[in-house]
Amino acid sequence: MANTESSLYEDAFRRLFSNKLSLFSFCFISFITILAILTPWIAPYDYAYQDLDLGPSGPSMAHWMGTDVLGRDLLTRILYGSRISLMVGFLATMVALFIGVIWGTIAGYAGGKIDTVMMRIVDAMYGVPFIILIILLMVIFGRNLVLLFVAIGAVEWLTMSRIVRSQVRSLSQQEFVLAAQAMGVSSVDIIFRHLIPNTVGPVIVYATLTVPQIMLLEAFLSFLGLGVQAPMSSWGILIRDGAVSMEEYWWLLIFPSILFSLTLYSLNFIGDGLRDALDPRTVQN
């Protein structure tokens, strides 16, 4: 068994990297991530440093991406912003993924009353006003970034669990699961060995869609004073500020948007590639 599994993932990576778009996307995301990690050493300026006399200026040799209305270097702010945005995007998605997949699989596999109760809890959670919940968490635990990730993730898992549940519902009726059950494989093993790998396709696609959503949500929460505080920046914040003054200072919108869209595209391509690569149903040697 162990041997088959490792070759499945080896196969998967081989297939993933033979897809040029996925490979390129993977490189791009890695590049951005490395830049984000190295930001404090490579950023040309301090993210809060203002040059009020300079004010908003277009791209130049001194400021490759121009400066914002307070004369702060946009490149620096984008680099620092990427740290926040990538961190929020990935971590919160992980949290959502973790809770959603486990919850959905258990509900779908157990069925019956357990399923009903678990899914009604999800329904009830949908009804809770999200912003109020986050504000409440912030009031209780104070403002800190890790909590922000957890809070967002803890709310974003709902749809994920529904998707997974419906997948598992149909999978658990299939012969290979029945066979495993007949052979006396434990429920835990069935869930982790058979069911979850089979849900990977939709889950990955949904996860890549969740990342951008969360990045934008972070901008919104920061605007309300719940996320990162000025003068720290994030992509969401930069784009929102840029959109307001796009007629006057185009670079404030264009540069962060390009980077943001490229990241999202890359995530989607990687998601696509991963889905094709990981889906056991496409395994055909």
């Binding site: 203002q50 009020l52 004073g225 003068p231 500020d241």
Partner: protein, 533 residues
């Protein structure tokens, strides 16, 4: 989503040969105003906001009318008035041809009834202090006396109203331009409730009975409030417009798009980042006027280390107000060196606040703060808004470089922001104050010990007594001298750090004629008309 649909609509309308609302308005003489938010109500004794005041200016008329240029008020329902030599007794002679929109005569009893309504504790008006200068008005409002006959308002006959003041108040006539002092129609109020009921149906179109130049025609929630010219108004010939539409648009960017696509004559404000480019793009439409308001930082003087006066001095010395105004706010604001905005024709405070980083740093050094013993981090609270955020970030940077003081910015929504200030849970907070009437009292009175809007914990007996002396002063020069002395104490102690004097900025379509500017930015709609050059 709404915004996207909106922008698409603008493009669609721009492409078709559809006539712009401002063009058709030339024919219909209907003024289109962007009015901020949906009004809370149209009851003059209940509302408190600027959007409401603009609508009520059209619907109701008080004893006097605000002068469009900001000079002394013009006669309204009162044709003339006499003031006793000690400045305490005002006798208003009401005009006999003032009518309610249902044809009833507006008489002195209406004013007695209306002012009683404002002062009734059971109504819970937010602005009863507008009438506190009247004898016994404050005790009546606080429930200390219950007989309204003891309050200094009396109808001598149908057309004569006598008002007795508790202290001379040279600004009293100015106060009477405020909507809180305007009359309401007794029969209408009581048809839909009682004298002290709030939020009844009397303010609905069809029910509303007013005495102003316009009548309430339509009120579509979150969409538009429309008023039409009244034919019972006494000065009908001065009213050139046939109607006004007030649009509640709280999104500044959307309002700006509406103006540029010809759907509004006047906007409520301008997106801050557009100001620079509009100076060249729309020099004719862009209006920037001085405004009777101060943008300042409030300091909680009970919070160490801000309880130390020298620390507050240092913070003020480390602020380059000129740079803030020119490089960050950019709306033609004036750096503020006093709490009350200086008025060249009236009260002109002589206080000075210098920008001197060296001295500021010296003060902090003398207090024992250094590299090894850094100044503790202070929190700066502001309500969520891009404008406030920009200023806060710039100030954060100034204090960091000039003084080495670290500031942590915290923004919260409006309600949290207000309540944190109220309970004193802040160190430094952003604040703004717009005068209610053109007199320094509207600013300085706020800092008296225990006033609801003081909120700094600051208390100074000498200051309080100077304001008391000013209240009893008999002539304006003497009053202003007391105020100036008080202002000096305030600027020396610095429970508040003034930053700049507001300007009012908006876009005004060139078709609108007769639209005047004044310090309080309120004006009657008489004599405004729409003509294209």
């Amino acid at each position: 989503m709404k915004k996207i649909i909106y922008i698409t609509l603008i493009f669609l309308t721009a492409c078709s040969s559809y006539e712009k609302p401002v063009d058709s308005s030339l024919e219909t003489q209907v003024l289109l105003i962007g009015n901020g938010t949906e009004p809370q109500d149209l009851d003059p004794h209940i509302v408190t906001g600027v959007p409401e005041s603009k609508i009520l200016m059209a619907l109701l008329e008080g004893l006097v009318i605000r002068h469009p240029d900001g000079k002394s008020p013009l006669p309204g329902v009162a044709q003339s008035w006499d003031i006793s030599s000690n400045g305490l007794i005002y006798t208003f002679n009401l005009r006999k041809n003032a009518r309610w929109s249902n044809g009833d005569t507006v008489d002195a009893h209406d004013f007695v009834y209306s002012w009683k309504r404002v002062l009734l504790p059971s109504l819970g008006s937010q602005y009863p202090d507008m009438l506190y200068d009247i004898k016994n008005a404050e005790p009546f409002n606080k429930g200390e006396i219950t007989d309204f006959n003891e309050v200094g308002v009396k109808a001598i006959n149908d057309y004569q109203l006598q008002v007795t003041l508790a202290n001379p108040a040279p600004y009293f006539i100015e106060l009477l331009t405020h909507y809180t002092t305007r009359p309401v129609h007794k029969e209408t109020i009581e048809q839909y409730g009682s004298i002290d009921s709030v939020g009844t149906k009397w303010t609905r179109p069809g029910n509303f009975v007013g005495n102003g130049p316009f009548n309430l025609k339509e009120w579509q929630l979150n969409k538009v409030i429309e008023v039409e010219k009244s034919n019972t108004y006494w000065d009908n010939s001065a009213v050139k417009l046939n109607g006004i539409k007030f649009y509640p648009i709280d999104n500044v960017t959307r309002e700006d798009l509406m103006f540029r696509s010809g759907q509004l004559h006047i906007t409520g404000s301008i997106p801050q980042e557009k100001i620079d480019s509009y100076k060249t793009l729309y020099p004719q439409e862009l209006k920037i006027f001085p405004y009777f308001g101060t943008y300042y930082y409030r300091i909680n003087i009970n919070k160490p280390p801000l309880d130390e006066k020298l620390v507050r001095d240092a913070l003020s010395l480390g602020l380059d107000r000129k740079e803030l105004v020119d490089k960050v706010a950019k709306g033609g604001q004036e750096p503020a060196f006093s709490f009350t905005p200086p008025d060249k024709n009236g009260y002109y405070p002589t206080t000075k606040l210098e920008f001197n980083p060296t001295k500021a740093k010296q003060i902090l050094n003398d207090l024992g703060y250094s590299e090894e013993n850094p100044f503790p981090k202070i929190e700066l609270l502001y309500n969520t808004s891009e404008g406030h955020q920009k200023i806060a970030q710039a100030i954060q940077q100034m204090w960091k470089t000039n003084l080495g003081v670290d500031i942590e910015l915290t923004n919260t929504d409006w309600k949290v922001y207000l309540s944190r200030q109220q309970i004193g849970d802040y160190s430094i907070s952003r604040a703004g104050w717009i005068g209610d009437y053109p007199d320094p009292k509207t600013f300085l009175d706020m800092m008296v010990t225990g006033r609801g809007n003081n909120q700094t914990g600051w208390s100074n007996q000498e200051y309080d007594s100077l304001l008391k002396k000013a209240a009893n002063a008999t002539n304006q020069t003497e009053r202003f001298n007391y105020f100036n002395e008080a202002e000096k104490i305030l600027m020396d102690e610095k429970p508040i750090i003034p930053i700049y004097t507001y300007t009012r900025m908006y876009m005004l379509h060139p078709d609108v004629k007769g639209w005047k500017s004044n310090l309080l930015d309120t004006r009657p709609y008489q004599n405004i008309e729409l003509i294209r050059d």
